[in-house]
Amino acid sequence: MLTFNPFHRCTQYRISLWQCPQFLFTIMGIFIIFSSIALYSLGQRYISDPRLAALLVIMVSMVLLIISFIISNSFENLAQANRMKSEFINIVSHQLRAPLTNLRWATQFLLSEDFQKSARKEKEEYFDIISENSNRMEGLIDDLLVISRLEEGKLNTKKNLFSLESLVKEVLKEYEIFLEANNIKVEFSLSRRLPKVFASYPLVKIVLENLISNAINYSQGAKKIIIELKRKRNNLIFSIQDQGIGIPPEDQKLIFTRFFRAKNAVQTEVHGTGLGLFIVKLILDRMAGKIWFKSKLGKGTTFYFSLPIIKT
C-alpha cells in the first residue's frame, strides 16, 4: 500500500517543515489561490480605482517573491544534507580502504613464492594481520550501522526501567581483561539508594562501552579511572574520570563530530574508528539526556552524562 507523503525527503534528512521546499511550495500555492480569490472578490466589490488594484497586485507579488526566496534557500538545506551524506560515504570508504589494503597485501604476500621459504614464526605475523584488520573493518561497519539506524530513527529505542549501577558493573566486567592488561584500577562510587532510570538498555550500554573504552585507551601508564553515579534533582548523573592525555582546548568543540580525533590522540596512535563519541552524543540526544566533559591537557578528562529519572 503506497502512502502519499510529499514531504518524505525532508523527513528522511530530518529537515524541519519550514525549511522543506515541498512544504513551502504547498504554502505558496495555497497563498496564491487565496489571494487570487480574495483580490478578485474585493476588486469586484470595492475597488474602482485601478491604481489601488495595481498596488494590491504588487503587494501580493512581493509576498510571493519573498516566499520564493525562502524556498530557494531551503533547497540549499536539502542539497547540503545530501552532500553530507555523500561526504559521509566518502569518509567511510576511505576508513575501510586502509584495513582492506592491509588484508589484501597480507594474503598476497602469504601466497607469494618468497614467502614459502619463510620461517614458521614469521608466517604467524601475517595471519595476525589478516585477523586484526578483519576485526577492524567489522568494528567500523558495526559503528556505521548504529549511526545509520540512529539517524533514521530505526534503532529499537524501547525503554524500560533498569538500574544504571548494574549496567555499569556489567560493562566493567566486559572490559576486565583490558583494564588488567593496561594495569588500570577502577574506583566506582555511588550515592546511596539511587533510583532506576527509564531508558533504552542497549543504547545506554553502547554509551557506557564507548566512554569506558576511551578512558582505557587514552590513559597512559598505570593509572586510575574513577566512575561516579549520583542523583541530581530529576536526573541521574554518570561521570567517568581518566588520568590520561586530556583534550587540547582548540579541539574540544569538535570532540563529538564524526571521525574526529584530536591532534594529541592521533599522536598516541590509537586505532579506533573515531566514531565513538559521535555515536554517544547521537544516543543521548535521542534519549533527552545530556553529555558534557571537562578536560585538562596532560592531566586527564572527565566525561559526564545525565539521564532523566521517572518520578515515582
Binding site: 592491509n102 597480507a106 618468497d114 601475517y126 594481520i129 596512535e269
Partner: protein, 131 residues
Amino acid sequence: MIGGYFKNMKKILLIEDEAALQKTLGKALMNLGYDVKSALDGELGLRLAKEEKPNLVLLDLILPKMHGLDVLKNMRDQDETKEIPVVILTNLENMAEVERAIELGATTYLVKSNYNLEEVVNKIKKVLGDE
C-alpha cells in the same frame, strides 16, 4: 657479477604508520634485495631520511608526530635531502593533499588500494630505474 649484487643494494625508506604495510610491502622489497629502512612516524622518518640518505622515500601522508606534507617540506628545504625522490603512498582520501605534495616536490604518488602487492612493487622498481 659483483656489480649486479650492488645494483640491488639500493636503500628505500618506508615512512608508513600501518605496521601491516611495513611487514608486507617492506618485506617484499627486502626480498628483492633492497635495503629497506622503516619509520612508523613522521619525525623518525625525517630523521632517517637525513641520516640514511636513501635512494627513494615512500611516504604516507597521515602520520603520527609529523604530517607527511611537513616531512616532505622539510626534506625539500634541506640540502642533504633535497634531491631524494619521494613517492607518496595514499588511499585516495586526500587527493587535494596529494596535489599539494606534488607541488612541494614529490616525484609521484601511488594509490595503495588500487594495486596488488606485486604491482606496487613493480612500480617502485620502475621509479628506481630497476626494470
